[in-house]
Symmetry: C2
Subunit: 153 residues, 2 copies
């Protein structure tokens, strides 16, 4: 938690109860959430908290490097903890939604591709985590149409 406070300060953001609670949710659950997921979980402690506030906080936390946006094909923005300051990617469990970092990146940014100068790249991997692999297969979380990212292999 210490390190997140430092990141907030470094980004010129105040340590508000709301903000710390949001970070706490990510730390405790180690998964990705949508704005609404966060909002519903904040209701107990912050009954007067609205969705716009959650959206604003999530975006600030992305900007100061605490969270990262995670792509799902469901028209919602998903956010997850961005643990390292170094370059890394993410793997998501398609059953429980857990997110882990992938530390070693095989992508060579220096390489020219079809005449393009590469500026950035984004890799997301979807899989089934060890825990879910052991669990009963018919207990799968149900995902909506178009939920999965492409390039199945």
């Amino acid at each position: 938690m210490e390190r997140y406070c430092n990141k907030l300060k470094a980004g010129g953001l105040k340590l508000t109860p709301r903000r710390l609670a949001i970070i706490g949710l990510f730390v405790d659950h180690n998964t990705h959430f949508t704005a609404e997921d966060i909002w519903s979980r904040l209701q107990k402690r912050f009954s007067r908290c609205g969705l716009p506030g959650v959206y604003r906080n999530l975006e600030s936390l992305v900007e100061c490097g605490i969270l990262t946006r995670i792509q799902q094909f469901d028209r919602k923005k998903h956010y997850g903890l961005c643990a390292g300051s170094h370059h890394h990617h993410h793997i998501t469990c398609i059953r429980c939604g857990k997110v882990d970092n992938i530390e070693d990146c095989a992508f060579d940014s220096a390489k020219k591709i079809k005449g393009y100068t590469v500026v950035s790249h984004f890799i997301q991997v979807n899989g089934v985590c060890g825990g879910c692999a052991k669990a009963a297969p018919h207990r799968d979380r149900v995902w909506g149409k178009g939920m999965f990212v492409c390039s199945e292999k």
Copy 2:
């Protein structure tokens, strides 16, 4: 075009003028489009065509394997030809928006990552294409907040 007609038939979809025109747009431009992009380009030939029809068609074309959804962090659904049945990714020019396929994929799907069984992966590369690199730098297209995918390097 022949092969796309076969895919339509295989999926139990009719060969309507609208549908063929949409496929034609993708074939001719070799880039990705949003529903609105398609809709505005159809106006000349199909003046009575509405957006809902475009959305329905694009989704049918994804379902029968002619199109693929392409992820951008801009809250719109992007679609592109799924040219090969083979595995590939995309590189996008951050100035003009052009998309090219990346044929060779460095990602090893067989590898176990942190105990996960990999199901699918998604790679998107952002860069500046040859044409835009030559053009005046202050002519950059302005992109909205959150437009770029993360992991700048």
